[in-house]
Symmetry: C2
Subunit: 346 residues, 2 copies
């Protein structure tokens, strides 16, 4: 049976091996259904795809897997198909895939006829613990990630941890980095929970707790004006690392490095007396996450000031004090280089 | 001195010859300013443009005048420039023009970095009484109007009726049709007020009252799920007429015809005992608005069922009962042809 989170503004159904209830729920959804997925998911779950396609009034559109599909041209391709199929505001849009499909799908659903009902079915750990929840949608544009986007809440979300079985270690790490972030932000227990090997992780519990924490911040600040920025812990450095590596380093991997750097900088620059590095090291070692990135500090600085989180001449950094407690500070961009250097231990 | 509407969720400044206070207010706006306009406005108000350009950190972008600029390619063109200029979430976007610039500008402002502050400076009557207020943004796509869009409120709106002096009769009519709509919806006095020649119209008063009425509906239903649909009075036919005429008939002209048809159909089909046609005729004659459109009824029906207001198998029509009172009814699309024919008196 599905568990439904009651304190979310929309239902989040979460259960192991719950594909039959997904089919059931989609069959009861009124109107036409546009289902967006990628070739990777479509191939791995071809049997599920067949069953999904057999639901009445379902139209499936498959994009190439990967970040490249988060583009204005993919956006246009999908919108054209929806217009040809005469989708109206009473029809719905389903994103079945990882963060790319969810982010792109959310942007499409939020802007087609100024918004149609949107359903998220995340298939990666990163999407389950982070991107499918909170209402941020986005496209990459002009070399920047999420340069275009909107805030748009799904009508409901279906989470089945069974999808995690087909993820490789790198993809699991991509999501785990966000879980580590939630732990550092406000939950030492969650941080403890992931100090075991991947096959011993209690994904159901981790996902559930992660969503509660994310919701805690999002509900106070849906449009990312203040409190929600705590969720950017590790991301200011992380986004820059992703960009400078030309996305060879994936989001979660970059966030993990970013978390390590900001913890290190916080200690080195005297914001905390607690050296978090040894604590992070044990978790990183357990999962094969890296602390380090070989890249030019000036390139990183440059990428950081392009980042949308820069507000004029200051940038908001989320600074770890101890596991479970962070603070938010506006740091002049002129001081950012010292944070990068302290973070890298240079 | 500007009048500020206090019951709006954002300030609307309205005053005759208030360009100096616009300059003043924009000068005090923090961050960079991206000002979008069209060649027509830029040419007519070249002196104002010079003064606007002399404000610190203002970047002006001029698009060709006309509906063609409400396109995904114009959207992309502007976003590219904003990205190159490193616009951040603390910078702002100004739409200085009519409905096309306001609708496109609003969509850009709402989606660039998931939304940056947006300022509306409408220069046409239609934009002043309707499109600049209420938060609807839109682009045309795949032959449909506003097929892509969002709901996004401006930070503030500056209305200067002095801009109306450079509008021709056809452009004034474009806005007057919406004012007539507001009158039929809920204000017999407003309807009375426009029974004078164009040069005797009290624009300040008409604009103010129109905005109050629009706000009344929008505030109850910002995302257009029910109550706001009253504002579609005359628009279900109107949009179809626009589309079938390939936009040779402008929005307001089509709405005027749509108002006349729906009033006529309401009477013919027995929804009201009041024949509104003579009342409408006197106003239409005064301003040179037409009741009629020569076009195929099946083409109109086809265009109507493509319209986003169609919810599955029913369509919501706003039906006039008398001047100042309308009702909202879900009509099966199968009955729409009888409404078209009754409206056309056939």
């Amino acid at each position: 049976m599905d568990i439904q989170f009651n304190h979310f503004p929309y239902p989040i159904y979460i259960a192991e091996q719950s594909f039959p209830s997904l089919i059931d729920r989609l069959s009861r959804q009124i109107g036409k259904k546009f289902l967006l997925t990628d070739q990777h998911v479509a191939q791995l779950y071809s049997e599920q795809l067949e069953k999904l396609q057999s639901i009445e009034q379902v139209y499936v559109h498959t994009l190439p897997a990967g970040e490249e599909s988060k583009s204005l041209s993919a956006y246009q391709e999908v919108l054209t198909k929806m217009a040809v199929l005469d989708f109206t505001r009473s029809d719905c849009f389903i994103a079945w895939g990882g963060g790319v499909i969810g982010d792109l799908g959310g942007f499409i659903a939020s802007t087609y006829l100024r918004g149609i009902p949107f359903i998220q079915v995340p298939t990666t750990l990163l999407a389950m613990v982070d991107s499918a929840i909170g209402g941020k949608t986005g496209l990459n544009f002009a070399t920047y990630k999420n340069q275009i986007g909107s805030f748009y809440q799904p009508q409901w979300v279906h989470i089945d941890p069974a999808y995690l079985k087909t993820l490789d270690h790198r993809q699991i790490n991509n999501g785990l980095a966000e879980v580590i972030k939630y732990g550092i932000l406000c939950d030492p227990n969650l941080f403890e929970q992931i100090k075991v090997s991947k096959d011993q992780l209690d994904y159901f519990s981790i996902i559930r707790r992660s969503l509660e924490i994310k919701h805690h911040y999002v509900s106070q600040d849906p449009y990312d004006q203040g409190q929600r920025q705590f969720l950017n812990l590790g991301h200011t450095f992380g986004h820059a690392i992703e960009a400078v590596s030309h996305h060879q380093i994936h989001h979660g991997e970059a966030v993990a490095i970013g978390l390590s750097w900001i913890a290190q900088a916080s200690y080195q620059l005297g914001w905390t007396h607690t050296d978090l590095k040894p604590l992070l090291e044990s978790v990183y070692q357990q999962h094969g996450l890296s602390h380090d990135f070989v890249g030019d500090s000036f390139d990183l600085l440059n990428a950081m000031t392009h980042d949308k989180k820069s507000l004029g001449q200051k940038i908001h950094l989320i600074i770890p004090i101890e596991i479970g407690h962070c603070i938010r500070e506006a740091i002049p961009t002129s001081e950012l280089m010292s944070w990068i250097q302290a973070g890298r231990g240079k």
